[in-house]
């Protein structure tokens, strides 16, 4: 008999006695009600790159409070886009005080991003 078994059994019964509901940990695990698989095949290659670009664009657009298609330093700060804040000067090649999504994309490409 394994040495730890009495401890396990004792402990299991104690837990049940305490609240009737032992906790479960099943990592990873999805409860049956949440098991809704995506019908979309997983993206890869160019489709994944497009998805990455969409994610960046979505964050950019969410920060663009005025809907001008560009961000000011203040808008980037308010949206917690620290990356844009830190590289704002470099991205703002026109020195317009605002950066567009294309500015961001070009900057990321110069750093080696494949988007």
């Amino acid at each position: 008999m394994p040495k730890m078994l009495p401890v396990v059994l004792l402990f299991t019964s104690l837990l049940k006695a305490q609240d009737g509901c032992p906790k479960v940990l099943l990592d990873p695990y999805v409860p049956p009600a949440s098991r809704k698989a995506s019908k979309r095949p997983p993206t890869a290659g160019k489709a994944l790159q497009a998805q990455v670009e969409q994610k960046l664009k979505a964050a950019f657009d969410a920060a663009d409070a005025t809907g001008q298609g560009s961000l000011s330093l203040e808008e980037a700060r308010k949206a917690n886009l620290g990356f844009v804040l830190q590289h704002f000067e470099t991205m703002d090649t026109r020195k317009a005080g605002r950066v567009t999504f294309d500015d961001l994309k070009c900057y990321l490409r110069t750093r080696g991003a494949r988007i």
Partner: protein, 532 residues
């Protein structure tokens, strides 16, 4: 429905899964003879005085979804230790306590995070790397990585022995990463001693996005308080912790907190591709893990004689899976196409299961594999090398490899926090909460998370980000081949590396693998140091 009824339903519906015992309680005073760490010995460097202090936290922390803390504190216990390592001595400070995660935009206090940090004495914080470790679940405390993997102390588990001596001895860890990085083990909200702060409740952070965001906010607080802004930063997550890592890495890079590297241990990066997370889905991604497990039990034909032979064997199994089994499975599941009978001999020889099993169950799920590979024996889900006779107490939990470690880890952690680190609270440490039952898995437009695009976005924002994927041959929860397929979607990212080791989900418990993993991790930290 009562809680216990709900649980029984869960067991009925999901009989291949089972209970991890919530392991904590007053009855668990197993009298571990934990000696306090030696404080003797000359430090290797000129160490500034660090005041030691125990901390009796006045708070009690609750794990349930509606729990909300009203009196958070940032108190901590600080203790000094040393470890003999590679002929030298490392002196370090352990800090165990709470930090408050604050919303970056509205400034509200969101959650009180419990953490244990190990920092090398005498090092300059600004240039010293720091790594944040967490387990997954969701709903698991970080006890497994904390006391099993690469911290300064670890438990001796005897894995894969199903009947190891207990309590597990706690020893100085010769494979600690402390020489390369400071280590911060942090518990997710509702686990350990971590809790949401009112008006938020624990369940406010029970979701893929909310959870990653709150981890970002904890790290922000830790970094600011400890002046680690210029330190190289690393994330180290296990299982669901890898899902968290991908989303968190994207969030951190976006927020301007540059990461140097991330370690993905036993990954689940796309829930839509792991058949065990779904109903009626193809188990092709598991097949190479069935093969390595069959090989471990000497049931494959042939049995690989050594590591080189195992490598060649698994390479051929990957090819067979990709070119023959997976396409046939796809046709079978989606179009009802009868399997090609010529597949059965190889399905059998590669795993050790008879052809009749494959004939009867072409999409062979992991539970069937674990219960039929060796008649009368249940193999572990986390580690298929751990087995127990069907009907034995160890098998009753559904996963012998999980049952065998849970109580010893839980009891050791409680002792360790109180006795060695000097921290205690008014409540017991929560090894696992109910978070998984109430978790919002929705992410990025899908009902179940696919976080490869998050990883891709993090890499777009920071192409120098080093990614290391660590996997176990005998892990039947997050199979290595599926992870290889998931990461391959990123196609030829030069900074992404994948390694597979002997062992299960918690590969670090394997004594033979741990030194190899540490060596690979040290190379990884070296690469990250020069990739800036």
């Amino acid at each position: 429905m009562s809680c216990s009824e709900a649980l029984m339903m869960l067991i009925d519906q999901e009989s291949q899964w089972f209970l991890w015992l919530r392991a904590f309680g007053s009855a668990l005073l197993l009298c571990l003879a934990l000696a306090c760490s030696s404080r003797s010995g000359a430090p290797a460097v000129d160490v500034p005085a660090v005041p030691q202090a125990t901390f009796q936290d006045p708070n009690s922390y609750a794990a349930h979804g509606s729990a909300a803390l009203t009196t958070p504190n940032e108190g901590s216990a600080v203790s000094r230790h040393s470890i003999s390592l590679n002929g030298g001595t490392l002196a370090y400070t352990a800090t165990a306590g709470h930090l408050t995660a604050v919303h970056p935009q509205n400034g509200s206090a969101e959650a009180s995070f419990f953490y244990v940090a190990y920092t090398l004495d005498g090092a300059v914080p600004a240039t010293r790397p720091v790594t944040f470790f967490y387990n997954g679940g969701p709903g698991s405390a970080s006890v497994w990585l904390h006391l099993g993997s690469f911290g300064p102390k670890r438990l001796v588990t005897g894995t894969p022995d199903p009947n190891p001596p207990t309590p597990f001895p706690l020893v100085d860890n010769q494979e600690t990463l402390l020489g390369a990085t400071d280590l911060v083990f942090v518990d997710a909200v509702s686990t350990g001693h971590s809790q949401a702060i009112a008006p938020y409740t624990n369940s406010s952070f029970w979701g893929v996005d909310a959870d990653a965001a709150i981890f970002r906010d904890f790290i922000t607080r830790y970094v600011a308080l400890n002046h680690r802004q210029t330190s190289q930063k690393f994330l180290f997550g296990e299982s669901y912790g890898t899902t968290r890592t991908a989303v968190l890495a994207h969030m951190m890079e976006s927020a301007g907190m540059r990461l140097s590297g991330i370690v993905l241990l036993s990954s689940v990066l796309n829930y839509n591709a792991n058949a065990d997370m779904l109903d009626a889905s193809g188990y092709g991604g598991f097949f190479p893990s069935y093969a390595s497990s069959g090989a471990y039990w000497n049931l494959t034909r042939p049995v690989p004689a050594d590591d080189a032979a195992l490598g060649a064997f698994l390479q051929s199994v990957r090819t067979f899976t990709a070119t023959r089994y997976a396409p046939a499975l796809d046709a079978f599941l989606n179009h009802g196409a009868a399997p090609d009978a010529t597949l059965f001999p190889q399905l059998s020889s590669n795993t050790g299961l008879p052809e009749s099993s494959w004939n009867a169950n072409f999409n062979l799920d992991a539970w069937t594999f674990r219960t039929t590979l060796r008649p009368g024996v249940l193999l572990g889900r986390y580690d298929a090398r751990v087995s127990a006779p069907v009907g034995s107490p160890l098998a009753q939990g559904g996963d012998p490899s999980s049952s065998v470690i849970t109580v010893p880890f839980a009891s050791a952690l409680s002792q360790y926090l109180r006795v060695t680190l000097g921290y205690s609270a008014g409540s017991s440490y929560t090894i696992s909460s109910n978070a998984i039952q109430g978790w919002n898995f929705h992410h990025d437009g899908l009902d179940l998370p696919d976080v490869i695009p998050d990883l891709g976005t993090a890499l777009a924002l920071n192409p120098s980000l080093q990614v290391l994927s660590l996997n176990g041959y005998h892990d039947l929860a997050t199979p290595f081949y599926q992870t290889e397929l998931d990461l391959a979607r990123l196609s030829l990212q030069p900074t992404v590396e994948i390694a597979v080791y002997h062992g299960g989900h918690m590969i670090y418990l394997n004594d033979a693998s741990r030194p190899r993993i540490t060596a690979d991790l040290l190379s990884f930290y070296q690469r990250a140091a020069t990739a800036r």
